[in-house]
């Protein structure tokens, strides 16, 4: 499985290479008050404004708080950026070794002697309160 490896403060995850569009270094992220917890903010990518997903928070961990790198991926209808704390790399993962329990992931693969969990992006977005079916945020009275 060819994938992009995303270093995170507490480990690493991988995104299937087919969904990845590009990697941006040290992108300026604008906070979006009121957005779901896992949304770090929004990013201006050459005129297109994308939500930035805090990858660690989306996977249930503590918020990383910043984005050293942003991996731009197709979230279906729109692009979305996922944070990484170190330079992402293209890798070839081996066959899945075991299913993963974390919501929004699609199994763990062996890579250079360690287990790397692969993200199921549509699932992860749903789990993080994003996607076209996400309930509205705010007063809900309008």
């Amino acid at each position: 499985v060819r994938a992009i490896l995303l270093p995170l403060p507490d480990g690493e995850v991988a995104l299937p290479v087919e969904v990845v569009r590009e990697v941006a270094a040290a992108p300026p992220v604008t906070a979006l008050p009121g957005a779901p917890r896992a949304v770090l903010g929004v990013l201006n990518l050459r005129g297109e404004v994308l939500p930035v997903l805090d990858t660690t928070a989306a996977l249930g961990g503590e918020s990383g708080g910043s984005a050293a790198y942003a991996v731009v991926a197709s979230g279906g209808t729109d692009l979305i950026a996922l944070t990484a704390s170190g330079m992402p790399a293209i890798v070839d993962l081996g066959e899945p070794k075991q299913p993963s329990e974390t919501p929004g992931t699609a199994g763990s693969h062996l890579f250079q002697g360690r287990l790397v969990t692969v993200i199921d992006l549509p699932e992860l977005l749903t789990h993080a309160g994003l996607g076209s079916d996400a309930p509205p945020v705010g007063t809900g009275t309008r």
Partner: protein
């Protein structure tokens, strides 16, 4: 190889050309009923020509059903054209029904698709309507009304135009925006890497100019005149009135005013609802009107005008009006707790109906709430005014375009936000203090207490509190004051929707992708206010109709003055928010205490109630201009000694003389205006502040 008219390409072409012809026929038919004796012959000629052309074209491309129907229309129009009959409502009914049928039949047959029109029955009905007796005088059909200006309600001549899918235009606008962003980045690159001032590079200047022109034209390409939907509304009124046996005269003015196509499309349903309401609820049956001393024929008047970045649309009927006491009872509002005007706005509340009967048109308490929701969806506002027995008038205010909005830019906790300028009521200085009312912060705006919150805390309860100026905003139903960190000025903002991946967030319209690579969040005033009110608790009572906020505040925008600690006080009178705030900032920095007002009348009220040493006034303002203010102050028993400086863009010698004659002590033209000029002028009259 031969070319056949029945080839798909020709049939498609015929269908494309038939669309505007059918629109024109519908428009002409509706105009016949409103035209009285004016222009009837020309309209009938036009109708006949169009029917004839449809018949000929359909025959050429082999669409027999269309040809047959057009022929029947022609037969019915022939006696009208010959003056042997007048266009009775029954004839207009048949012809409008035929136009409706054609609108389905033409594209379906051209593409070989199924259709539901019963052509044979319709032919019979059209021919059955052909009058056999002598012509009916026009006054027995519809009463005459003043004619609209020639061509005012006609579909624009399609000659020289092509239909372009809206998504192509949207893409064009987006690409132009990206081009402008790339141009700014190029300028930065020239400066950083080649140490060149971009404005000194002729090619860069030319690129900037071309991109600017392109951006304006691309935005304009999405604009369409409101006239494009008038026929639908007039038809709705006409058809319902016919069903209910009511007589209605329709007038529409200002329909050449343009709106962004996407805004106008979303307004059609709410406008149609209001028009049908006007017929069903508003207009009385003829006998009832006559008994009440009114003409038997009621009137529905649609007026459209542009007001700055907004288009204002009013729908007014001269019917029975809204019974405020019944609204009060239906809404359970205790007598004496709200004004009639406030109660009237409750008709937009979900589930509220005062109709005695439920019909298929209205009376179920649904409708006006949906109208309001639809108008809010295009960032618009709606209000209503009415007098029992006399009229009901709905006023809708919508931004001309959702793409580009004039915004006030502010910062809060270090982040920039854009607020649509048409929702800004006023700005109060950072020294403005809040009072507590029912345990919640409130500020005085004129003579009205407005709930207040920090912008940061309204967006995120965990955010720190700002301590800068207070921006008072008007949403659809409420006003609310927000303390921000800093005002950053005003400018046009290209608004894009938030990513579809994000959940709906009511406090944002969208975002602006800035040329420097940053993002500005564009606030949705109504959503923000709702959110702020939710966070404060929902115990507030309405502050009055949002539409009143369209007009400038009737009272001074700073009712609570600073304490008088010895520094001289300058009253800045200016209706333009930016100029007013600029002058305030300069004078406060120079050590003066500053009060502000938005016109001469408001200034007079402030000067009469607070100590003022100098008045700095604009000339052109609503209600009372600066020269009249100057003369009034000079003849005022208590204020005649106050210093007065006129700041204006009127720069001729004659203008200066008029200012001097009115009694001004100084005169600054805006083209020579800068901080030093203003401060020097104030110093000359007041001396330097201590």
């Amino acid at each position: 190889m031969t070319v056949s008219g029945s080839e798909p390409r020709f049939r498609e072409l015929f269908a494309e050309q038939a669309g505007p012809e059918l629109d024109r026929m519908a428009s002409d038919l509706l105009a016949l009923e409103n035209a009285g004796g004016n222009g009837i012959a020309e309209r009938i000629d036009s109708l006949f020509r169009d029917a004839h052309n449809l018949k000929g074209g359909a025959a050429m491309v082999g669409l027999a059903e269309v040809r047959a129907l057009a022929h029947a229309m022609e037969d019915l129009l022939e006696p009208l054209r010959a003056g042997a009959a007048a266009p009775t409502p029954e004839i207009v009914d048949q012809l409008l029904a035929a136009v409706d049928a054609m609108r389905e039949l033409v594209p379906a047959t051209a593409r070989g698709e199924p259709y539901e029109v019963d052509v044979a029955s319709m032919e019979v009905a059209l021919r059955a309507a052909i009058p056999s007796g002598p012509p009916v005088p026009p006054e027995q059909t519809v009463p005459p009304v003043a004619p609209e200006p020639a061509g005012a309600d006609r579909t624009p001549d399609p000659t020289g135009s092509v239909q372009v899918p809206l998504q192509h235009l949207n893409e064009l606008v987006r690409l132009v925006g990206e081009g402008a962003g790339a141009q700014v980045r190029l300028g930065q690159r020239l400066a950083e890497q080649l140490h060149l001032d971009p404005s000194g590079v002729a090619e860069f200047r030319e690129l900037s100019k071309v991109l600017g022109d392109l951006q304006r034209r691309a935005t304009r390409s999405r604009m369409v005149p409101v006239a494009a939907v008038v026929e639908v509304l007039q038809r709705a009124a006409r058809d319902l009135a016919r069903r209910q046996g009511k007589q209605v005269r329709w007038t529409a003015t200002g329909t050449g005013t343009e709106l962004d196509r996407s805004v106008l499309e979303k307004l059609v349903d709410p406008l149609r609802h209001l028009v049908r309401n006007a017929v069903d609820h508003g207009l009385e049956p003829p006998a009832e009107r006559v008994a009440a001393g009114k003409p038997a024929q009621g009137e529905i008047r649609m007026q459209v005008r542009q007001a700055g970045p907004d288009v204002i649309i009013t729908i007014r009927d001269d019917g029975r009006g809204v019974d405020v006491q019944r609204v009060r009872a239906a809404a359970g509002v205790e007598p004496g707790t709200s004004t009639d005007e406030e109660v009237l706005q409750l008709i937009f509340r979900t589930g509220l109906s005062t109709a005695k009967e439920v019909t298929d048109i209205s009376g179920r308490g649904v409708g006006l709430d949906v109208v309001r929701t639809n108008i809010r969806a295009v960032r618009g506002r709606i209000g209503v005014s009415s007098r029992l027995g006399a009229f009901t008038e709905f006023t809708i205010s919508v931004p001309i375009t959702l793409t580009v909005q004039r915004c006030l830019l502010v910062s809060s906790t270090g982040q920039r936000y854009a607020i649509p300028l048409h929702t800004v009521v006023t700005v109060l200085p950072s020294t403005q203090s809040e009072m507590m009312s029912e345990g919640r912060p409130t500020v005085w705006v004129g003579d009205r207490a407005v709930p207040a919150s920090g912008l940061a805390e309204a967006l995120d309860p965990a955010a720190p509190v700002d301590s800068g100026p207070v921006v008072v905003l008007a949403g659809v139903a409420w006003q609310h004051a927000f303390r921000v960190e800093e005002l950053l000025g005003q400018r046009d903002v290209v608004v894009r929707g938030l990513s579809q991946l994000l959940p709906r967030m009511d406090c944002y319209i969208g975002v602006s992708a800035e040329a420097d690579g940053s993002v500005v969040l564009v606030l949705d005033t109504s959503g923000l206010i709702e959110q702020a009110r939710d966070r404060r608790g929902r115990a507030w009572s309405p502050l009055g109709p949002a539409v009143t906020a369209v007009a400038p505040p009737a009272s001074p925008d700073r009712a609570a003055p600073h304490g008088h600690d010895g520094a001289a006080t300058v009253l800045v009178v200016e209706d333009a928010l930016t100029v007013r705030e600029l002058q305030r900032a300069i004078l406060e920095r120079a050590g003066y205490r500053v009060l502000t007002a938005t016109d001469g009348l408001a200034a007079l009220a402030v000067a009469e109630s607070h100590p003022v040493d100098l008045v700095l006034t604009d000339v052109s303002m609503p209600r009372m201009d600066g020269l009249e203010l100057t003369r009034t102050l000079r003849s005022h028993p208590d204020l005649s000694g106050v210093g007065i400086i006129v700041v204006t863009s009127l720069a001729s010698d004659e203008d200066r003389r008029r200012g001097r004659d009115a009694g001004a002590d100084g005169y600054i033209t805006k083209d020579q205006f800068d901080e030093q000029v203003l401060v020097d002028a104030v110093h000359r009259i007041l001396g330097e502040p201590r």
